[in-house]
């Protein structure tokens, strides 16, 4: 069986979108194209766990077939890698569930199977999660309120790369920040197998208070198709994928 590539958008934000189209709609569109959208809402230390304005976080992830999590800055590293891995499992399990429905009939899901059988299926899902290739477009909100959080975001992304590069499967990341200087998003790092060297390129703070989450998600979604277009032009682009 040929191993597939999982595609994810990871959105890190601390606030509500206030410009452009509805981010949930864009997330739903991305999900239709086989990209899952995960959202991490970063809380200020003095915020409650259910703050105003961050309900959007859960909505975007729900429409995007991904996972959402609200988290205080200091727990960001653990959360980023956990959300990414859980989302991989969720996507793979979705595939397996669809296959099961084909075999067992439309009413059957994994929960209808006896624990022993379920355990065997989870073993397969785990194997797939370990060996499949993964592509993540990281989308970082750099609007003014994120000022004090960017250092932690950078560390969390380096940490994510440590976790994912311990897998057998290959990884590719790229990073965008939004809002960009002239466009909705700004490229920070092009497709790369590791994130250890992002210190030098990590974004300076954008000015202005707009948070165009919807348009940014749309741009992020296009990064996958751009790449597959390029891939068809240059067959040997595997050179920038690190061999695990």
């Amino acid at each position: 069986m040929k191993k597939g590539t999982l595609k994810q958008i990871l959105l890190l934000t601390d606030g509500c979108s206030n410009k452009g189209e509805d981010p949930s709609a864009v997330a739903a569109l991305a999900f239709e194209q086989g990209i899952s959208v995960n959202v991490i809402g970063i809380l200020d230390d003095d915020q409650t766990e259910h703050p105003q304005g961050l309900e959007e976080v859960e909505q975007i992830a729900l429409s995007g077939g991904g996972i959402s999590q609200l988290v205080y800055t200091k727990a960001l590293s653990q959360t980023v890698q956990m959300v990414t891995k859980q989302a991989m499992t969720q996507t793979l399990q979705g595939f397996v569930n669809a296959e099961l429905k084909q075999i067992l009939g439309p009413e059957q899901t994994m929960e209808d199977l006896a624990p022993d059988k379920r355990g065997e299926i989870m073993e397969v899902v785990e194997d797939m999660g370990e060996t499949c290739d993964l592509e993540v477009v990281v989308l970082v909100d750099t609007s003014a309120s994120m000022r004090d959080k960017l250092l932690t975001v950078k560390e969390a992304l380096i940490d994510l790369s440590i976790s994912l590069n311990a897998r057998i499967g290959r990884n590719r990341f790229c990073i965008f920040s939004f809002p960009g200087r002239r466009k909705d998003i700004q490229k920070v790092l092009d497709w790369s197998p590791r994130l250890d060297n992002i210190s030098s390129v990590f974004p300076k703070l954008s000015s202005g208070g707009v948070t165009p989450t919807g348009p940014a998600l749309r741009e992020a979604m296009y990064q996958f198709s751009k790449k597959s277009l390029l891939r068809s032009l240059h067959k040997d682009d595997a050179s920038n994928i690190e061999e695990a």
């Binding site: 999590q69 205080y72 590293s77 929960e111 624990p115 379920r118 355990g119 311990a166």
Partner: protein, 309 residues
């Protein structure tokens, strides 16, 4: 700290849990603890105690069950609690939960045990842990989330370290499934998160360091230098320092190598040395030589050193 969308299940004492598939009936006694994935309860079945872990995250639970099953297959040592049952429970409100039942291990935390029994147990506990890790690694597994909270020393004699949560156990060569920052060499920028023996040995060294820094500490600009310094500052661990430092720096390829060095360190220790340390132990502290002459004190010292193993 994290926002969970799943419902919080809280079982009150005397709740009856009947399995959907196997029909075994468990009576909940009290909550033992809860973690990221689910809660563990003390329960009874046929008048016997057992530990029951329950959660609505069926997939994560099944992954844990898979690990427990493979560990139970490793012959000759008890790696982790033994698994008794896996089943689903439909709560009265219709919500489905997955649970598994395992052996109930009664024990002290390492911290409690060492303060009750004295620091000469440090080396023994290290050896026990290394012995089990060696067996686990030989079976192709890495423990992963090795930390103080995941270990107990049995109350029943002989005292033995037991692992109570095997959720992080990962097949060798893969990415560590679950870890805690303080014990994770990736966090300290001292290695990868690939499941290999040296990953567990690093965490093992951190377990013993953490005993002396109950509030733990965060990394600074030079994580490696900081850890070595923190280790050096613990006088109790001085005899084991060379071995622990090598574990931190990833210089052991196998748990067996470290086990050998620790056991040779222990055999080199003078019994006289141990008895002098004992002054801070509970037995000696109770003995207050207020009026007694110096000769009596030293005689008692001598007797104590004979009594101690």
């Amino acid at each position: 700290m994290m926002h969970q969308t799943s419902k919080k299940l809280n079982l009150v004492p005397n709740t009856i849990i009947r399995g959907k598939w196997h029909n075994h009936v468990y009576t909940i006694r009290r909550k033992l603890g809860s973690g990221a994935i689910g809660s563990v309860y003390l329960c009874t079945i046929n008048q016997k105690y057992a530990a029951l872990k329950i959660s609505d995250k069926s997939t994560s639970m099944m992954m844990e069950v898979n690990v427990l099953k493979s560990l139970n297959k490793v012959q000759g040592v008890c790696l982790g609690p033994s698994l008794m049952d896996v089943d689903d429970w439909i709560a009265p409100d219709g919500q489905a939960y997955t649970f598994y039942v395992m052996e109930y291990v009664r024990g002290y935390s390492l911290q409690q045990f060492l303060s009750r029994n004295g620091r000469e147990w440090v080396g023994v506990l290290m050896l026990q842990l290394l012995h089990d890790l060696k067996k686990l690694h030989e079976a192709g597994w890495i423990f992963g989330d090795l930390k103080e909270e995941n270990l107990l020393v049995t109350i029943d004699t002989p005292s033995r370290v037991r692992w109570i949560d095997v959720g992080g156990t990962t097949q060798m060569g893969r990415a560590i499934k679950e870890y805690s920052e303080f014990y994770d060499r990736g966090y300290w920028e001292m290695g990868s998160r690939k499941a290999e023996p040296s990953y567990d040995l690093f965490a093992l060294a951190m377990v013993f360091i953490s005993l002396y820094y109950p509030k733990q500490f965060a990394k600074d600009k030079h994580p490696q230098r900081l850890l070595v310094k923190k280790l050096q500052d613990i006088t109790t661990l001085r005899p084991y320092r060379p071995a622990l430092q090598k574990a931190l720096l990833g210089e052991y390829q196998t748990a067996g190598e470290m086990e050998q060095e620790i056991s040779s360190i222990i055999s080199r220790m003078r019994p006289r040395h141990t008895s002098r340390q004992k002054t801070s132990g509970p037995a000696a502290a109770a003995f207050v030589p207020e009026v007694a002459g110096l000769a009596v004190v030293s005689a008692m010292y001598y007797l104590f050193s004979l009594l101690l193993p």
